[in-house]
Amino acid sequence: MKDLAYREEARARHKESFLAPIIKANPLFVMLLGTCPALAVTKSLEAAIGMGILFTFVLTCSNVLVSSLRKIIPSEVTTPSYIVIIATFVTLVKLLTNAFMPELYATLGVFLSLLVVNCIVLGRSEAFASKNTIFDSFLDGIGNGIGFTWAISLMAIIREILGTGMMTFGKIFTFIPLIKLPILKMVDASNEIIYDYSISLFQTPVGAFLVFGAILAVIAAIGNLKAKKAKYKQKEGNK
């Protein structure tokens, strides 16, 4: 019987470590970590997705390795050891991206190297993987990766549509054909502009700050509304 209860508990823990970082404890929107790449690579959706996938890979691998070495690493040198582990996987990813997807490598540029000092990767190693089992750390890595990827993709969609007026696919992921979806801007076959409502400011750094600020404000507003409703419900209940 005890075994069953234990298993049940373990399953709940696995679920929690996977699902929590996707929405409830989203690394970018709730924890406000990893803001540097989030602002820098969100000019286009493809760059954001590419960054998200590479980020997920690095985070999951470093989480698993840190977790499996957690009883060996002495407590005095945890941070340097984690940094070396992370830097190893970042170098691996850099070399592979440069070899197989040079367009993505050129777009992300130095921000690929900067994954080494990414607050999320280091933070999850320190706060989660150094204390939990390998499987939990693996799930935590995947969950945080998905949470971060959808967050930067949302920002990238807003910035790309408002900034360029269209969604472009196939420019960075060269294995899919080049498609340009006209949304706010339309050009005909001879590149003549039919209409153009895009605001190029959103492609500049200014747009990155404004979009991120606006998203955080919307999240705060939703949170306030929920708190208000809960309070109101409590009052009704008391009556």
Binding site: L32, L33, G34, T35, C36, L39, A40, T79, P80, I83, V84, A87, T88, V90, T91, K94, L95, G109, V110, S113, L114, V116, V117, N118, C119, L122, L201, T204, P205, V206, G207, A208, F209, L210, F212, G213, A214, L216, A217, V218, A220, A221, N224
Partner: protein, 195 residues
């Protein structure tokens, strides 16, 4: 003479025109985290300046005279981050011994600098674009001065904002990001100077 002019131009352009925080997005975490008190922003700015310049002076020779002759330039990130982490430790010990008053202002920011992407970003950017030693130092100096100026201005604005009434949803980080956006817009105007 012309090299000196280029040196000064490189400092100015990396300070104002291509500002580290507002157009290259390095060090946003500490920019938002520390940039709400003027005093702590000065401490952080000084510490970043110190470490970035020193890290560049050390990492450039390591890359060019050690990693390239040994044909392992792909090890750069690993080596750089180790150099920066140990440099931060050494600088911390040194300041603690020599000037306890300076340590009081800088001390708590030093551990944060290892994970500040401005330092690694500048060092990596220098070697990626193949700058020579003088230009690398100019870039490091200009970048960190730019970081200092922007984080200080940002902290001043945020301190004043605390006294004003802002909509409830915008309180805290969202309004700070809008402020940063407006600052970025102002710095965008400087790009015309480069010509």
């Amino acid at each position: 003479m012309s090299y000196l002019v280029a040196f000064l131009l490189a400092i100015i352009s990396s300070t104002l025109i291509d500002n580290v925080v507002l157009s290259r997005f390095y060090g946003i975490c500490s920019f938002i985290g520390v940039g709400n008190k003027t005093k702590s922003s000065i401490g952080m700015g000084l510490a970043v300046t110190f470490v970035t310049v020193f890290a560049t002076i050390i990492c450039w020779p390591i890359y060019n005279f050690l990693l390239i002759p040994a044909e392992i330039p792909y090890m750069d990130t690993v080596v750089f981050i180790l150099v920066i982490a140990s440099l931060v430790q050494i600088v911390g010990y040194f300041i603690k011994k020599k000037s306890p008053s300076l340590y009081k202002t800088l001390g708590i920011y030093l551990p944060l600098i290892t994970t500040n992407c401005a330092v690694l970003g500048v060092v990596q950017g220098n070697t990626d674009s193949g700058l020579d030693f003088g230009m690398s130092v100019a870039n490091a100096l200009g970048t960190s001065i730019g970081f200092f100026i922007v984080i200080f201005l940002f902290a001043c604005i945020r301190e004043r904002l605390e006294g004003y009434k802002v909509p409830k949803a915008l309180k805290g980080v969202p309004i700070a990001l809008f402020v940063a956006g407006l600052m970025a817009m102002a710095f965008l105007g400087l790009q015309g100077v480069a010509g």
